[in-house]
């Protein structure tokens, strides 16, 4: 059972969190102007890399805050967590 470092509450067991999928997928400014394909990209298509992945989590049992994490999907290790208003950290 992994520990996930909530940017507010600190490390907690993963059962306290819910997964939110890929981070930094902004809601389109003007959905009406998008082609069906472009809209489908937003609704259904997410990256699925093996390796570093910026994704969303929410500390649902705790402070109810959504935050971002950079996690290695190969090892499942959390490499960084950051709040929605913080820039995506650079990790090699």
């Amino acid at each position: 059972m992994q520990l996930i470092p909530c940017p507010w509450c600190g490390p907690r067991e993963e059962v306290e969190f819910h997964y939110g999928g890929q981070a930094h997928v902004a809601y389109p400014a003007a959905p009406a102007d998008l082609s069906d394909r472009e809209w489908a990209e937003y609704v259904f298509f997410r990256d699925n890399p093996k390796g570093l992945f910026a994704e969303r989590w929410v500390h649902s049992t705790g402070c109810r805050r959504w935050f971002n994490a950079i996690r290695d999907t190969g090892t499942h290790d959390f490499r960084a967590v950051y709040r929605p208003n913080e820039p995506k950290p650079v990790i090699s």
């Binding site: 509450c9 600190g10 907690r12 059962v15 306290e16 049992t61 705790g62 402070c63 109810r64 805050r65």
Partner: protein, 201 residues
């Protein structure tokens, strides 16, 4: 008899049917429902100009540190999130609520959530051991001190656990009303294997 008295008379707490069970537990743990605490959800961004006024209204600085709390007389303030606090007080005269509303003005929100949760006092020399059956957070006095307030799972119920001393023997467990019966059942059951345990007597 005023309308208020009528109302008070007829209040029902989620765990009143568990009183007898709680009393029958080994002496090492004491469970008691602290029913009818007025509970206010205070919503405010920490940067808000109202923070000062709110602190004044509470009589104590609003705790901004995650997982912390503050106490002013009978008023307890638990940190639930960066913009959310639970203000608890045994007094039902509505004064705290009025003062908070006045202090918050348009900057946030004060919501009466008194019926949303109930509070179970878990105390005694084995209190920490009892919680350890279902709580993954380290409540050892070395790392967990009086005043900490953590929201986590106790068994399968979401709770806030407020630590009230530095010896790991006094906690408040604040739980959603609808989960209270489950949690009481779970706590009582957790004590069963310890009935014969001398350390729990």
């Amino acid at each position: 008899m005023t309308a208020d008295d009528v109302a008070v008379d007829q209040r029902v707490s989620p765990l009143e049917l568990w009183r007898a069970e709680f009393k029958a537990l080994p002496a090492g743990v004491r469970l008691r429902e602290l029913a009818f605490l007025t509970q206010l959800s205070l919503r405010l961004v920490p940067e808000s100009p109202a923070v000062a006024a709110v602190s004044e209204a509470l009589g104590v600085a609003l705790p901004l540190e995650p997982c912390s709390s503050a106490v002013a007389g009978e008023v307890t303030v638990l940190w639930l999130g960066p913009d959310e606090w639970l203000v608890m007080t045994p007094t039902g005269d509505g004064e705290t609520e009025r003062n908070l509303r006045a202090a918050v003005q348009g900057h946030g929100a004060v919501i009466d959530v008194s019926g949303q949760r109930t509070t179970v006092s878990v105390s005694g020399p084995r209190a920490r051991d009892l919680l350890a059956h279902g709580c993954s957070i380290d409540l050892h006095p070395r790392v967990n001190h009086a005043g900490s307030c953590v929201q986590t799972h106790l068994a399968k119920a979401g709770v806030a656990i407020w630590t009230r001393d530095d010896s790991g023997t006094d906690f408040w467990v604040v739980v959603r009303t609808s989960f209270a019966d489950y949690l009481a059942r779970w706590l009582v059951d957790a004590c069963v294997p310890h009935r014969q345990d001398p350390q729990w007597q």
